[in-house]
Every structure is written in structure tokens, then in C-alpha cells.
């Protein structure tokens, strides 16, 4: 078993899973029906990525864990998703800013991985990069629309940008797992800024200063929100031991 490969792929899978779980929870809550369809679509894409990645991580691990054992039978501290994706959707602004930051990251990382040596991972990444390109363009459009909309929408967007910005640093924090397999996202920060900064500028939003940079997610140390997310996600599965659904 290539432990570093497992850890690497799990991070990608957990990111997608947690982002999907958050987005899926918004079903029926979008500000308009078209957006209900769009958000569900994005959640489905992310869920599909999570399933492919977790399945592959389980295969690499070779301990017989499939996507469901990995999603439903790990404890909170075993999930290595970034803190960004578990942040709550306090309003539609938070949802869109999170999607902007995360999909820009995913797009760059998947692009690199689609050209990588690991063929399975490359195939998953190649399929996913198209999906996240759509997520990104959707998030960009809303960011501009809401940043440069009304006074209230601008205020909400700026608040979301300010609150979520600190969590973006972790996406690019290198460590032995990132360096040990695939492509190290540490090198993507500049290109990521190259995507995000112009969107914020067009949206007449201020790009926050780089200051506080909380980490921990990659080592299983999450925020207090995460326990509730995992608890809810796993509640029914855990209530019935070893059955099929």
C-alpha cells in the first residue's frame, strides 16, 4: 500500500464530499428555482467526484474499504478535508464565495492532476475539471452580480469574502502528504489569485489582506461545525450496522 497516495487521494475525496454535503443541504433553499437546479447540479458533480475519489482511495489502501465505509464509518478526525469546505452556508453570499474560492482551487489542481502519472487519478481529474470549470463560472457570475448589485448584496458579499478568505491559505499549505504524491497545490496560490482577484475587482469587492491563516483540516483537526455535519451525514447509516441500502 502506498500510504502517501492514499492520504493524497483521500484529501481530494474528502474535500469533494464535504463540499457536496454542504451544497446538497441547500436543496429547496435557493433564492430562485433556476438556482435550485444549478446548486443541485453542482452538488451532484461534487458528490460524483467524491465517490470516484473515495472509491479509488479505498482501492489504493487495499483494506476493503469502499466509498461508503470511508464516508460513513470514519470519525471526524479521520476526515482530511480543508476547513474552507465545512464552513456553514450562513447566506447565499457565503455559498457563492465559498464556491468561488473552492472551485478555482479545484480547477487548477484537477488540471494538473489530469496530466499526472497516476492514470486513474488523471482520468477522474480530467472528467472533473470540466465540471468545476462550470462551477467556477457560475460562482464568478454570481460574485460579480451580487458584489456589484445593491448595497445590501455588496455588504453581504464583502462579509463573506472577509470571513472565508483566511481559510483559503490552507488550500496551498504544503506538507509531506502533498509533496509525497501527485501534484503539490502549494505552487498554485499565485495562479489562484490570478483567477480570484480579477473577479473580486470586477465585483467591486475588496481583496482582504493576508493575515490569519487557520489550518488543521488536512490533519483531521476541524472547526466545531464539522462534528454536526458528520453526525448528521452518518446518523442513519450508523443506526443500522452492516446492512445494504
Amino acid at each position: 500500500m502506498n500510504e502517501k497516495a492514499v492520504a493524497y487521494v483521500l484529501r481530494l475525496g474528502d474535500d469533494a464530499l464535504v463540499a457536496a454535503q454542504r451544497m446538497a443541504a441547500l436543496a429547496t433553499w435557493a433564492p430562485q428555482l433556476e438556482e435550485d437546479v444549478a446548486l443541485a447540479n453542482i452538488a451532484l458533480d461534487l458528490l460524483g467526484q467524491a465517490r470516484a475519489l473515495l472509491t479509488y482511495a479505498g482501492e489504493l489502501e487495499g483494506q476493503g474499504r469502499d466509498e461508503d465505509l470511508l464516508a460513513y464509518r470514519r470519525d471526524e478526525h479521520e476526515f482530511t478535508s480543508a476547513l474552507l469546505v465545512e464552513q456553514p452556508d450562513t447566506d447565499f453570499a457565503a455559498t457563492m464565495v465559498k464556491l468561488l474560492f473552492f472551485s478555482a482551487y479545484q480547477r487548477l489542481l484537477y488540471e494538473e492532476l489530469s496530466a499526472g502519472d497516476d492514470e486513474t487519478l488523471a482520468a477522474i481529474a480530467a472528467k472533473s475539471v470540466k465540471e468545476v470549470a462550470y462551477h467556477l463560472s457560475h460562482a464568478c457570475a454570481w460574485t460579480v452580480r451580487l458584489g456589484d448589485g445593491t448595497e445590501e448584496s455588496k455588504r453581504r458579499m464583502q462579509t463573506a469574502v472577509d470571513e472565508l478568505w483566511p481559510y483559503t491559505h490552507e488550500l496551498f499549505a504544503s506538507d509531506s502528504v502533498w509533496r509525497g504524491y501527485g501534484f503539490d497545490p502549494a505552487g498554485l496560490r499565485e495562479r489562484w489569485l490570478g483567477i480570484v482577484e480579477p473577479v473580486l475587482a470586477e465585483a467591486t469587492l475588496e481583496r482582504p489582506v493576508d493575515d490569519w491563516a487557520p489550518t488543521g483540516g488536512r490533519d483531521g483537526l476541524h472547526t466545531e461545525h464539522f462534528g454536526y455535519l458528520v453526525g448528521e451525514m452518518q446518523s442513519l447509516h450508523r443506526a443500522h450496522e452492516g446492512v445494504s441500502w
Binding site: A27, T28, A40, R51, T150, S244
Partner: protein, 308 residues
């Protein structure tokens, strides 16, 4: 009879479709708008009972299936509101009618989804009943509605098969899972039968609707078809329906079934179902929470238009 009226009557008589550009009698327009709007509302409200299980779905595959289904329902709502708009209705006004409680939606969605088996039973029985109702509507005299129904029915059939497949899986599982299915069937059977509306003798508008070809069968005909279709499916699944009077009538070549509690239907329709207030309150809250977003989108579009 004017030329316009004559053209309308001829179109109906020839089984051709009425299109948005055609003149229609005010009664036809009103009936059609109400029917389509109520159907659209039902799709939207119908997202809630199942949507509540998305975050807790017990496998990632089931989560994906459920999410896709709820997404389809949003899509159905969209086509249907669009169809209503071709008759001059305004989507904002229809939404207002829904969240103020002035327009109804299918009262089946006022029942709670208590376990994950409910997701399967809703697919099997509720979508099944909806399909019985809707297949004839693919031949509705109003074109946009008929075309929307063709697409919707196709997707609903898919949902129904998925629901039934979930139930088959659960019935092959543990006793707890089988109990869950039977319990869900017990709770959803009678409300499903009520989905076809009041009995024919208490359904005064049916005649006009059938004359206009916006309805093709009576409530009781459709209900009987649904019962006849469901009983063998239940047998195959290994569950029973909570009706001691349900049995094959060789003479009628149909299943007989017990009397429906129409008082319950009235009570639920008039607001006293288990979840009426919640469903409407959730919808209202989502609408209100989204207000600043919709306003900002309009403001942004106006700015862009001004620049150009």
C-alpha cells in the same frame, strides 16, 4: 358563436392542440392556469419531504439518486411555471399565491417522511399515482402543458423505478428494514389513493374539464387503475396494503377496495395536515431569504444595461 370560439371548439373537437397564440375562453384559461400552477406548486413543495433525507441518505449512491430526483422536481416546477406563463400568468404572482396559501398544492406532501423507507414508498406509490394522473395529460388539449407532461412523465417513471428498487433492496435486508418498508406503506397507501381527488359524484368540474380535453379520465377511473397496478407490485415486494377490504373482483375484473376517509382529505386540504404549516413556512422563508439576491440581480442587470 364567434369565429374565435368556433376555432377553439374545432381545435378541441379535432383533438388538436391549443397553443399560446390561440384565443381561448376565459374559463378554459383560468382552469388551465390553476391546474398548471397547482401542479408546479406540487413539484416545488414536493421537494421538501424527500429533500429532508438528502443530508442523511445512508449511502452515497442513494444520496446521489435522491439529490438528482429533487433536482428533477425543481426542473419540473420550472417547465410548468413557464407553461403557465404562456397563458399570461406571472411566476412571481403564482409564488405569492403559494406562500400565502391562496393556491393549493397536492395535499400528499403534507404528510411527513419519517424514515428512509418513505423515500422509496414515495417513489413507488406517490410518483406512481402521479404518473397515472399525468400520462393522460400528455394528451392535454393545451400544447405547452402536454409537452411539459411528456418530459415530466418520463422522469417520473424513472423515479418510480428507483423508488421501487430501493424498496426491493430494503426488503432483502434486515427485519428492521422490512418493518420500515411496511410501516411506510401503511402510512402512504391511503393518502396515495386520495391523490386522485374526490369521488366522481363529488367532482362537479370533471365534466367541463373532460369536454375541454384537459382531463381524459375521471378520478375514480384513474384511482382504480392505480390500485389494479399497485397490488401485484406489492405482492412482488412482499408488503401488504392496510385495507382489509382489498381483494380481486372477478366479475369487475378489478380490485375492490375499502372506503376512503374523505374527511381526512378535506382536513388536510384545508390546512390541518401534519406538515401543512411547515411546508408553506419553509417555502416562504426560502423565498424571503432569497429576496436580496433577486433584487441584487435585477439591480446589476440594470447597471449593465445602462452602460451599454
Amino acid at each position: 358563436m364567434t369565429d374565435l370560439e368556433q376555432h377553439f371548439e374545432d381545435t378541441i373537437a379535432a383533438d388538436h392542440r391549443i397553443e399560446p397564440r390561440d384565443w381561448v375562453p376565459e374559463g378554459y384559461r383560468k382552469t388551465m392556469v390553476r391546474q398548471i400552477a397547482q401542479h408546479a406548486h406540487s413539484e416545488i413543495i414536493g421537494m421538501q419531504p424527500e429533500g429532508a433525507w438528502i443530508t442523511r441518505a445512508p449511502s452515497l449512491r442513494r444520496k446521489a439518486i435522491l439529490l438528482a430526483k429533487v433536482q428533477d422536481e425543481a426542473g419540473h416546477g420550472l417547465y410548468l411555471y413557464s407553461a403557465a406563463e404562456t397563458l399570461g400568468a406571472d411566476r412571481g404572482e403564482l409564488t405569492e399565491m403559494l406562500i400565502s396559501g391562496r393556491q393549493k398544492y397536492s395535499s400528499i406532501f403534507n404528510y411527513p417522511t419519517l424514515t428512509f423507507a418513505d423515500v422509496g414508498v414515495i417513489g413507488w406509490l406517490v410518483d406512481g399515482a402521479a404518473i397515472c394522473n399525468q400520462v393522460p395529460l400528455c394528451r392535454s388539449s393545451f400544447g405547452p402543458y402536454a409537452r411539459a407532461m411528456i418530459r415530466i412523465c418520463k422522469e417520473e417513471s424513472f423515479h418510480q423505478r428507483q423508488g421501487y428498487e430501493l424498496l426491493l433492496t430494503l426488503m432483502r435486508g434486515t427485519q428492521a428494514q422490512r418493518d420500515m418498508v411496511q410501516d411506510a406503506v401503511n402510512r402512504w397507501w391511503w393518502p396515495s389513493l386520495m391523490m386522485f381527488g374526490p369521488p366522481d359524484e363529488a367532482s362537479p368540474n370533471t365534466a367541463q374539464s373532460m369536454a375541454w380535453k384537459i382531463k381524459r379520465h375521471t378520478n375514480d377511473e384513474l384511482r382504480q387503475r392505480f390500485v389494479d397496478m399497485s397490488v401485484p407490485q406489492a405482492e412482488k415486494l412482499g408488503v401488504t396494503f392496510p385495507d382489509p377490504l382489498l381483494k380481486w373482483n372477478d366479475e369487475r375484473q378489478h380490485y375492490d377496495f375499502g372506503p376512503i376517509d374523505w374527511d381526512e382529505l378535506k382536513r388536510v386540504i384545508s390546512g390541518n395536515g401534519p406538515c401543512n404549516e411547515e411546508r408553506i413556512a419553509n417555502r416562504r422563508r426560502a423565498h424571503e431569504d432569497g429576496e436580496w439576491v433577486r433584487e441584487a440581480a435585477i439591480a446589476h442587470a440594470a447597471k449593465k444595461a445602462a452602460v451599454v
